[in-house]
Symmetry: C2
Subunit: 476 residues, 2 copies
Amino acid sequence: MAFEKKDLKKRSKNLSDWYNDVVVKAELADYGPAKGSMVIRPYGFALWERVQEIFNSWIKPYGVENAYFPLLIPMSLMEKEKSHVKGFSPELAVVTHGGGKELAEPLAVRPTSETIMYHMYSKWIKSHRDLPLLINQWNNVVRWELRTYLFLRTAEFLWQEGHTAHATEEEAIKMQTDALAWYRKLYEEHFAMPVVVGIKSEKEKFAGAKTTYSVEALMPDGKALQAGTSHNLGQNFSKAFEISFQDAESNSQHVWQTSWGLSTRSLGGLFLTHGDDQGLLLPPKLAPTQVVILPINNSQSEKVIENILERLISIDVRARVDNREELSLGRKINYWELKGVPLRIEIGDKELADESVTVIRRDTFEKTSLKLDKEFSDHILHLLTEIQDNLFNTAKKFLTENTHEVDSYDQFKEIMKTKRGFIKAYWCEDSECEAKIKSDTKATTRVRELDQKAGNGKCVHCGKPAKFVWHFAQAY
Amino acid sequence: MAFEKKDLKKRSKNLSDWYNDVVVKAELADYGPAKGSMVIRPYGFALWERVQEIFNSWIKPYGVENAYFPLLIPMSLMEKEKSHVKGFSPELAVVTHGGGKELAEPLAVRPTSETIMYHMYSKWIKSHRDLPLLINQWNNVVRWELRTYLFLRTAEFLWQEGHTAHATEEEAIKMQTDALAWYRKLYEEHFAMPVVVGIKSEKEKFAGAKTTYSVEALMPDGKALQAGTSHNLGQNFSKAFEISFQDAESNSQHVWQTSWGLSTRSLGGLFLTHGDDQGLLLPPKLAPTQVVILPINNSQSEKVIENILERLISIDVRARVDNREELSLGRKINYWELKGVPLRIEIGDKELADESVTVIRRDTFEKTSLKLDKEFSDHILHLLTEIQDNLFNTAKKFLTENTHEVDSYDQFKEIMKTKRGFIKAYWCEDSECEAKIKSDTKATTRVRELDQKAGNGKCVHCGKPAKFVWHFAQAY
């Protein structure tokens, strides 16, 4: 609580030092006792609850239902789909003892739930009338990790994982595409983060998938963040888990599947994208508190403040008053700036006399005097919308300015050594060539944008013929 | 989907056979692949989401904030409070390997989160200004168990666990009492389940608590279900974890703590309490679908049905239409009766001609013809309220009729051998006496009701002086 502004590390100096500092000081999260672990504190969790609320409001009307599957997966199930277990086994946490005894078969703490869910799907799906099966889970998963980077890299994280089964591949691909569209919308309209949307390379796709789509965001240090993925699993899992159905003609067929996930990592991307040297900067659509009201003179303004609060709450603005008597106004301002609350209202004697308040934007620090008249609420809503748009436009401008189209490998290497960002370049789609680029530049293929028309290019690295331009970047 | 009513086991014959059958057939839950594990299917999970929504709407305005703490707890933390680890160690699932290596220190999969949360609280709490600290988690916990009784006994379950820290014991006891009141309200007003509310005996209290309060429900087989608990932890954990604060006079003090929890077990109690030979019977306030509309003649009634659906949804009635063409009306009726939907609306040619619908109550099977006039929606709301009340009153009557005041041990034993239920009797509060009663009758002390005035009784078992009457029962 007793936050000293001067203590906060400068974002303008070192992004990652600032990030580690602000996440803890703004009470978003803290380090847990075990290596790689994280505690999500109430202020951080309130943001995750907002994400859940928004995402549920899209998936439920679409017909996706939430459910809950077990945390602990028998190793024999994990091993049923070969490329899947190969991808995940190095990251598993394994329960070997339960109830004081060594287990006959060890249990994996789920790193993702394909195997356990599809084991159940094979019991539940019998007929084409059982399809599509559209299930989502909000849960915790563990992928072994010893170095914590709060939200961005932790052994345990929270996420949603959607898992669907369909009668045809066309339907599955539509689902995969629709899930990707939800992720894009979530980032662009709510997180105020522009994203690049596309398909992953063979090497970068999900272990067990036929294709992986991804939304990729660009962080202020020029590194990309894989921010949500949607997989066409084809029939890989339905064959391994024997998930089949009788079609309308009574023929037995394997189902076509998708899975798609978005995690608390997204919040790390959010905090990195919008802050400044004063602290966080939360987009109004996500901010747990959108407007904080600071009384300069408590006793006199009480009724007016109560009235403002009521007016804002009545139009669904998430507003609150900071009445703490032990803190000076300056300390309170520092506190709420650190917390990234989009709008601050100050009200003192001068304002009272004038029947107005002073409103300060967190993004531009612009001060406006607003009359407490009929239009007051509309002005507040308008300002919140402006802040949301400004954050998005600023991030969009950054993305555009830091996306480099290159056609020589020297240029490629030079950019990755200096300013980084996205590089757009033709690539031959050969995995060895991709590995070579990575070892030279630390950059990996991020995505090939969807709906891209095939061209006649040359691979930026090896010069072989290349049909498509890919986004490359160093990644989180 | 292809449910045959005749297949459902009879509740009137054997409650637990019926329960196991209906939970699977109504698609509330299923057995997971590992021993003791359970899958909560969408219909069951929708009920848990309702519980979350209701409970959050109470705790958040009270000032309790949701957060998320790590799943995996270092064993050294588990061991800090001696009676706590003693209580939980026989039930632990233990991770010994991570990332392909044996861990230097094994990690317990949380059976409850006192230890990991209070480790963090000791970092966060410094001053009386940091108090009270009111945090809740919705998460999964594991307590080793090999035999699954869906919802009622599973190795992993979902729950909420509230954990608070206060400056004084009075505040802590108020919190403990308020949490208990939420549980009582949740059961009585939403689950339509009357509960007995009181304090646990020394032997039955939570491992590490000073006192435990509990709400106890009576199942139709005469066994009690511990349905939610609220603990005064005193300073047991704050001393073990060094959680102290400077009070207003700058003296260092240990905080006073509470924890309180309610789990998916509650849903097991709900299903046991209200069903019948036709299937589930869900109280309207919890039912994911409150009203199902069955068209008898699809083509003609489409517009009328669309209109009814809109009217109901506009007043927040959770209504849906069953349009499935592959099922006969009879099959649909069986299906929705199995699912326990409180009200069914049938609409066919007769009803269309008459501008009315037939409404059938799930609890009494009473049929009413309702005109589609201005009062239609009010009638539906009224019927839903009546069903809610009827379910509660029926359960209340059962509880009253199956609560036996006894003063002889022979009577006690006879009742526990035959009809069971709650027994109210004076008890000396001696643990050995309690153990003897349990070994004779399988009955344990459930609670001593709060606010009970001390009397001058004799212990029903040993005859020694006893001040208070206790509720005894065999328990789930």
